[in-house]
Assembly symmetry: C2
Homo-oligomer: 384 residues x 2
């Protein structure tokens, strides 16, 4: 297998048009006269414009023939600087503004008088309240996003490359006596350096990524990041991770590692985690079912006497670092080429430690390709 | 006037209880049997737990006598580590999970069978769809947040102190030939240093702040941050800003400044901006109306021949860096002691430059107090 090409280049107008076409195909099937998008990830996907959610709404309205983008007047030059593709800007006066020039006045102009309007599951109640038409909640854009284009795959491969090298940098800094904050200190500057030198259209607003190391006492609690002042001492399991999105596209790489020595009691849970990992990769092919992969990993954990893992086997990436579809119980999606998953089955022993690797993995026509190539055997993960 | 004390200390359980009491007071007045909160800022305000929104929902349900917190099982240790106050945790199996152990099953357990349920304007459609009761959209917690307690004021004063010193650091780095990315490079490490040394309960999940410098060609577009590789050259107007929230509480400081020399054509717009600024401070007292302050600032801009400013005069802060109430047309709130506002009237000339200072300002019983004390005259804002 060959790795996909890497790129930090901006999305093209034809690619944006193709995304819109796919959304309208689904709108037609659902019998909608328009679809309203508020989720900033979906807005970015269809416009290349990244906003963060605050009181001034950014709302995209797709009818079958036109695209309207309702934005604060303050943001018009900002939108014009980043946007790709064609749409009609409807700008409203500074929030909250007087009646007649409010965001809701512009939004009303964009809505068709007739027909059912589709809204996202993420659509806020205040926005839904402004739609007089009958409304249907369905995640059309999210569905289109599940299968990645060649451009998206190259962007995710680029993010994966940045993150894999950042992980190597971090792990190279871990020594006895080194504080976590110091070991991770070069990661953010490295992100900037890569973005600024490789992407002329780098947008800081669509980047939100970090590298972190959890010392052993924190690894049983996967989202506990309160260990920045802890000093590294020989042993393990440590968890090194780099995750998030960089310049618009997400990925992650995580490794359980050891400092100078592997404690005896770490070996069995590490090996069980690896057995789950091999099983997940073994089952990972187009046509497989996400929940079945997760069930098989859980069976290995239970068989070895461990509790149900805290974490599912995987999630997807795209313009986010965390999205559907999942490799998890309850998710009966069929895995297809062009999907991207994290593969991260884990073992978590309360008060003793957690064991998890994670990789960013592309589904191909015949199998998969790991975009975050990095050693995974415990013998190769002893640092310091 | 004396500045409020600074603190980076964690909120107390009695303070959290008092916030809950105020919310229930408003629930009772509105005739609700429960109130459902999803907005992560409101959840943080009532629990001290910071989450970011992704597919696994965190939902707070307040009945008149009990508080339920629906959380992913994966996050239970993380919630227990940060939470302040008493509530009943209802944890659900890893997303999406099988029927019976999904988030929606736990959520259903928390809802009262009878009565109208209040939801936030920010409540997503997928959550609203799980409420069988009649629903009323109203922002009760946001309203309680408008008046700050002594603890909140001290936290915002602390954030203001960190940001003011960060601005001074940044401006001290600006020299001819220096790249923006280098001038701002010390800000994030400084944030970390202050948080890690002054707040034993520092939570990286509730921090999202940055410092940036806009060179002259970018200042007419207030949210355009794509200037990291631009080199600073003598002249102006430059805009230096530090904004966001640090360890849970927001503030901002912004200064228009000049490198070595003030261009002749910059003097009139700068002075007009200052006239607007003096007018805003002159009108800023308990009992004043936000829209009237903004109208008076706009009148000065128009009188001097400038277009309607892109930006309103101010917004509030709290557990966010951007919230209601506003000093803006359309906002007819009465200003009260304990409110916090940015004061940031500006002049923006398309293609030529923008002029804006911003400060974080506390309303007192008799007037106001500026929490971000820093020179504002153009003669004192020449660097390099």
């Amino acid at each position: 297998m060959t790795m996909p090409p890497l790129t930090a280049a901006q999305v093209s107008a034809p690619e944006i048009a193709e995304r819109h076409r796919k959304v309208r195909e689904k709108m037609e099937k659902a019998g909608l006269s328009a679809y309203v998008s508020f989720d900033p990830n979906n807005v970015y996907y269809l416009t290349n414009f990244a906003n963060f959610v605050h009181e001034r709404p950014f709302v995209l309205v797709l009818t079958m023939t036109e695209t309207f983008f309702v934005v604060p007047v303050l943001e018009v030059p900002h939108v014009l600087r980043h946007k790709v593709g064609d749409f009609r800007l409807l700008s409203y006066a500074e929030f909250p503004a007087v009646v007649g020039s409010r965001w809701s006045d512009r939004f009303a102009e964009a809505l068709p008088k007739q027909g059912t309007i589709g809204i996202e599951g993420a659509c806020p109640a205040y926005l839904q309240a402004q739609i007089p038409n009958p409304v249907k909640v369905l995640n059309i854009i999210d569905e289109v996003r599940e299968i990645k284009s060649a451009h998206e795959i190259s962007r995710i491969a680029w993010t994966s490359d940045v993150m894999t090298k950042a992980l190597a940098m971090m792990l190279g800094k871990v020594q006895p006596g080194v504080m976590v904050a110091h070991a991770i200190g070069d990661v953010t500057p490295y992100f900037y350096q890569r973005c600024l030198t490789e992407s002329p259209q780098y947008n800081v607003m669509s980047s939100h990524a970090a590298g972190l190391i959890q010392p052993p006492a924190y690894t049983d609690d996967p989202h506990n990041f309160s260990c920045l002042t802890v000093t590294c001492e020989p042993g393990g399991p440590f968890l090194g991770f780099v995750a998030g999105k960089i310049n618009g596209y997400g990925a992650e790489i995580e490794r359980t590692f050891f400092l100078q020595t592997i404690p005896e009691e770490a070996k069995r849970p590490f090996d069980t985690m690896m057995e789950m990992r091999y099983k997940a990769y073994d089952m990972l092919k187009p046509g497989a079912i996400g929940s079945e992969i997760d069930a098989a990993c859980q069976a290995i954990a239970h068989g070895a006497g461990y509790e149900t893992p805290l974490h599912r086997t995987g999630h997807s990436f795209g313009v986010t670092s965390h999205e559907a579809p999942f490799l998890a119980l309850g998710e009966d999606n069929v895995i297809q080429p062009g999907m991207i998953f994290s593969i991260e089955p884990g073992i978590y022993i309360k008060g003793k430690g957690g064991y998890r690797h994670s990789d960013t993995v592309l589904m191909t026509e015949t199998g998969y390709e790991i975009l975050t190539q990095y050693p995974d055997r415990k013998e190769d993960l002893i640092v310091g």
